[in-house]
């Protein structure tokens, strides 16, 4: 465990040295300043009128939470795009000649090395998302005097979504010793495949009457991590304080993560350097 923590800590330093964290933090600070400026000039009366008209505090809460999500959701997508780009080279750099030889000559198991790199990458994204989400949450909560703790679940869901994609990046890094394949596959899943499968499953699936096509879609749907559902449905439900209606996207995405990491460890344990 100690070795994993050392590698994790030094991966964080690597991210800082490569200005990944500073870039993220800069982006978050700009976002928070814009949020602060917009919220500062927002007239509360309109919202309060809605509250008075309906006399329902729940609607007021939902409006506030929606404002928070309106800011965080697109930004978290952008953050994930940047995070994939920034973290994709952590493993390939570790595998470079002269670097990996030294690491493997130390009393550290190969799986500890890999987990350390993995947690390091996830920790970088977690800290950035925490800063952004907590900042938006604080500004809006102060302004409207409504402290929606559930909104902070976004930190967990966005980090989890990244953790799933990062496991694929790690696997591709081990396989190719490069960052390109992992990055391309992650972008493909995040931007195209997952949203497309969600639309297929919800809108088009019922219109298909061919069982083979349905089975193929089902197989792909359950294998591919459900980043679109995690960020849209589950994140929104949790942020609004609603119970999660379906945990299947979380479970199948987690299984994808486990499969990628186990494959990575097996490959790494048997690879010559």
């Amino acid at each position: 465990m100690k070795n994993i923590l050392i590698i994790t800590w030094f991966t964080l330093r690597e991210a800082m040295a490569r200005k990944v964290i500073i870039f993220f933090a800069g982006l978050s600070i700009v976002t928070l300043l814009i949020t602060f400026a917009i919220i500062a000039v927002t007239d509360l009366n309109t919202l309060l009128q809605v509250q008075n008209q309906t006399n329902d505090p729940q609607i007021f809460k939902e409006i506030v939470s929606s404002i928070q999500l309106m800011i965080v959701n697109p930004l978290s997508g952008l953050c994930l795009l940047l995070a994939i780009f920034a973290s994709s080279s952590f493993v390939p750099v570790m595998l470079e000649k002269g670097n990996i030889d030294l690491l493997l000559s130390k009393p550290v198991s190969r799986s500890q090395l890999l987990w350390g790199k993995y947690f390091g990458g996830v920790l970088v994204v977690f800290l950035n998302i925490l800063f952004l989400v907590a900042g938006v949450w604080l500004i809006i909560s102060f302004k409207f005097n409504y402290w929606n703790i559930s909104f902070l679940y976004s930190v967990v869901i966005i980090t989890f979504t990244f953790a799933v994609l990062y496991s694929l990046i790690v696997l591709c890094g081990i396989l190719t010793k490069g960052s390109m394949l992992g990055m391309m596959l992650s972008y493909f899943i995040f931007l195209i495949l997952s949203p497309l499968l969600l639309v297929f499953k919800e809108k088009i699936y019922m219109l298909i009457d061919n069982n083979i096509v349905k089975t193929v879609i089902d197989v792909i749907y359950y294998i591919v991590p459900k980043t679109a559902e995690l960020l849209s449905k589950i994140n929104v439900d949790l942020a609004l304080g609603k119970p999660v209606s379906d945990f299947q996207p979380v479970i199948t995405s987690f299984l994808f993560l486990v499969a990628c990491m186990m494959s990575s460890i097996w490959l790494f344990n048997n690879k010559d350097f």
Partner: protein, 313 residues
């Protein structure tokens, strides 16, 4: 218990589709006792680095096994007693010299006061104490090499693997590294040295192994390997009389060396003594009698040449 032990270690590299196979190491067996400085010599591609990588568990063998300090190398915990300086090592450029040692020290299981004390000690030893807070990207090749040596010794290892340790180091730095190695030997450490600089290997090693095309073609003490059998250098006042040079027996020969001394080839030690008696009876003053030796380089080149010739045949 030997410090390093290998038994029929074999490594075969395959191309991507497994069609072409290259034997990097072939049936390599060796035992190195503790407290030895062992030099491994060989031309480029002979398998020297592959052997170190196998011994450190960086690469896996196709056959055979190896032990370090009595433990199988697959047991990664034994590496807390090992130090390694790879050829072309890379350190994170954003770390300072001190941070590099801190990172690898921590990975080797050190911490706290003990680690800090050891870092200062090592930086002082390799003369980088003034550079400890400077990022390594500003270091010269020689400084990186010295930092690498400090890194390899940070955990006070019992066995040290050094792959081209003096690469890029100036002559004074090389002398300092040699002194460090001799000091480590006195402390009972085992050092496994890969180097192209044969003159340097000759100066520090107790034993050497010659590797060619993955095979160990010779192993032994430097003095044994470089010795020319029954060949002596003899110097006298003036010149040897013709009667002596003409009366040589079968198997004996005498040649004049460039510096005026004579090279004498005999069949055994008795013949040397008889020859000296003969000179003394002729009232010739002998000023020098020395057994002739090859340099390590001469021995190395001739062995590799012979080995290549045999493999062609």
């Amino acid at each position: 218990m030997n410090a390093i032990e290998t038994n029929s270690l074999t490594k075969i590299y395959s191309s991507s589709f497994g069609k072409k196979k290259i034997t990097a190491l072939n049936d390599f067996t060796i035992s190195i006792p503790p407290g030895t400085i062992f030099g491994l010599l060989g031309p480029n591609g002979a398998g020297k680095t592959t052997l170190i990588k196998l011994l450190l568990g960086i690469t896996f063998p196709n056959a055979g096994n190896s032990k370090i300090l009595g433990k199988e190398v697959s047991d990664y915990k034994i590496k807390s007693r090992i130090g390694y300086l790879p050829e072309n090592h890379k350190y994170p450029p954003y770390l300072s010299g001190k941070q590099v040692l801190e990172f690898f020290g921590k990975l080797s299981g050190m911490q706290g006061f003990e680690l800090n004390r050891r870092i200062d000690e090592m930086l002082d030893l390799v003369k980088l104490e003034k550079w400890k807070k400077i990022k390594v990207k500003a270091y010269s090749k020689g400084m990186m090499q010295r930092l690498g040596l400090a890194q390899a010794m940070i955990n006070n290892p019992d066995v040290l693997f050094l792959d081209e340790p003096t690469d890029g180091v100036d002559p004074i730095g090389r002398k300092e590294i040699r002194d460090i190695l001799m000091n480590l030997k006195e402390m009972g450490k085992t050092i496994f040295l890969n180097s192209h600089l044969l003159s340097e290997v000759e100066l520090v090693t107790d034993r050497v192994g010659i590797l060619n095309k993955g095979k160990l073609i010779r192993e032994g003490k430097v003095s044994e390997l470089t010795e020319r059998k029954q060949e002596y250098r003899i110097r006298v006042e003036g010149k040897l009389p013709q009667t002596i040079t003409e009366n040589l027996l079968a198997g004996q020969s005498i040649t004049v060396l460039s510096d005026g001394a004579y090279s004498l080839k005999l069949n055994d030690l008795n013949e040397l003594n008889s020859f000296i008696d003969q000179l003394r009876n002729n009232h010739i003053i002998i000023t020098e009698v020395l057994p002739l030796k090859n340099t390590l380089e001469e021995m190395f080149i001739s062995l590799i040449y012979e080995s290549d010739k045999e493999s062609v045949q």
